[in-house]
Amino acid sequence: MTDKQRENLKNRIAVVAAWGVALIFFFPIFWMVLTSFKTEGQAIAVPPLLVFEPTLENYIEIQERTNYVKFAWNSVITSFGGTAVALLIAIPSAYAMAFNPTHRTKDILMWMLSTKMLPAVGVLMPIYFLAQKAGLFDTKLVLVIIYAMVNLPIVMLILFNYFREIPKEILEASRMDGTSTYNEIRQIVMPLAWGGIASTALLSIILCWNEAFWSIVLTTTEASTLTAFVASFQAPEGLFWAKVSAVSTLACAPIVIFGWLAQKQLVQGLTFGAVK
């Protein structure tokens, strides 16, 4: 076997391994989606059924019982809104920290992260009272604010990481040309770190999307998100695994599709090899 053949074989094994790992990771989700097309009786069959006559009855019942579109829309608004606010605040800050680090930068970042250390259930009453006094119960605004603040430290830290990967030489070159800070961020940092910003945004959106504590405690009917939609189908008295699978498939479908569309962006931009 020549080196080239050996290299080829190695590559092939790597591809097979990648697919194998991906399938294992994806399997529980595949199983959930599959279960969503079963009847409740089929869903508990022993041994579990792989082949069965699919039914749409779970989806039909969900359609009859709840207003999926409203929940989904609230989820979109609150998670994209919260993320946008967090990014807006974080991008300039992370930029300043990444390109002008001082001996305190690390401490500031760590302190920011430490604001997340209080578990939500421990801080329930303070936030609840604040929302109550401010008259923000059951509004999308309160969720946007909370999501932005809760995710801000994480967004900061991840952006900081990606910005640090941009070679300083590029910025220095542009500064010689007298570019303003605003243009520097907009025309150089943002495009170069686009993949990083995209994956940060995606992460933040997912975290907001799946946030199930505040979105349930602070909303009733107008602003409830998909987590409340899932909660309304979860653990009733009676079999529910097929229905909750369908609900959950619906609840994560938009974000999976979004992730699929975004995945190309995720790895674009951060290729500085040629510039160096």
Binding site: N11, A14, A17, A18, V21, A22, L23, F25, F26, P28, V46, P48, A90, P92, S93, A96, M97, F99, N100, T105, K106, I108, L113, S114, L118, P119, A120, V121, G122, V123, L124, M125, P126, I127, L130, L152, M156, L157, N161, Y162, R164, E165, T181, I206, W209, N210, T227, V230, A231, Q234, A235, V244, C252, G259, W260, Q263, L266, V267, L270, G273
Partner: protein, 286 residues
């Protein structure tokens, strides 16, 4: 860039987070020193450290502390190692890489309660679950996952959910690795491991420490997976600090004790953070 501008750019995030921290934190500190049970509105008054003493002297406190640390530690190790291995594996372009990427990230899209339901009832149930069917097919006795290894089962579920997070960060960071350097190393005859150790790992130091720090925060307060699957049992084998706080906050409705528990959680998180920063934090600003 002048220092005023640097400060100005940093100011909004720092000020907002300061407010976000100080207001709830001071309220929590205040609540933790008063008698404050939602179900007994007439009972009030300053009681010093009584709430702390009550939380601390719970027989479940130390087991819960240990479980919290084991949970955080194991999940961190599993997710970082797996995440690194997988993102290196999918670093090079190949057919269907886009699909593979989305499949690998997708567990992160599932809400924790749902993931716990799927794992508990459809995968791990010793009679109706898929694993039981697989074990039976092999002629083995099915494992009673949640009864015999409750904490491990929860570690498994959480790792499944969070490895994608590590993959997402790592695969983006790997893209910025200097390819010329790697090619040069290959020409010099450096093998995969030598390249990984000398080039990739140093390049990934910062992303790794960031993944560790962020995940730590989330794993210290794991709740849904425990609540749905084991309710902290058998005994207190899968009870963590957050679960203890939940019992005081949402079952006893004792805001005072729950706040004291919250303060313990902050202290623990800070201790863990100090250790982690010692270990990995210095790579942050490098």
């Amino acid at each position: 860039m002048n220092r005023t501008l640097v400060r100005l750019l940093q100011a909004p995030s720092i000020i907002l987070l300061l407010l976000w921290m100080i207001v709830p934190l001071s309220m929590t500190l205040y609540f933790s020193t008063i008698r404050y049970n939602l179900l007994y509105p007439e009972r009030e008054g300053f009681i010093g450290l009584e709430n702390y003493r009550f939380f601390w002297t719970d027989a479940a406190f130390f087991p819960a502390l240990m479980n919290t640390l084991v949970l955080v530690g194991s999940v961190l190790i599993i997710t970082v190692v797996l995440g690194l291995a997988i993102s290196v594996l999918i670093d090079r372009p190949f057919r269907g890489r886009g699909i593979v990427r989305v499949m690998l990230i997708s567990p992160f899209f599932i809400m924790p309660t749902v993931s716990a339901l799927v794992w508990k009832n459809m995968m791990m149930d010793p009679t109706t679950g898929l694993f039981a069917a697989m074990w039976n097919a092999m002629g083995w006795q099915p494992i009673e996952w949640l009864q015999d290894m409750p904490l491990f089962s929860i570690i498994l579920m959480v790792s499944w959910q969070w490895t994608p997070f590590a993959i997402l960060i790592f695969m983006t960071s790997l893209q910025s690795q200097d390819q010329e350097q790697k090619e040069a190393a290959t020409l010099d005859g450096a093998g995969f491991w030598s390249q990984f150790y000398n080039l990739t790992l140093p390049h990934m130091a910062r992303p790794i420490s960031i993944v560790i720090l962020i995940q730590m925060i989330f794993h210290l307060s794991i709740f849904a997976e425990i609540f749905v699957t084991t309710s902290g049992g058998p005994g207190v084998q899968s009870t963590n600090l957050t679960y203890l706080i939940y019992i005081q906050s949402q079952q006893a409705f004792d805001v005072g004790v729950a706040s004291a528990g919250g303060v313990f959680a902050i202290i623990l998180a800070n201790i863990v953070a100090i250790f982690l920063i010692r270990a990995v934090g210095k790579t942050l600003t490098v």
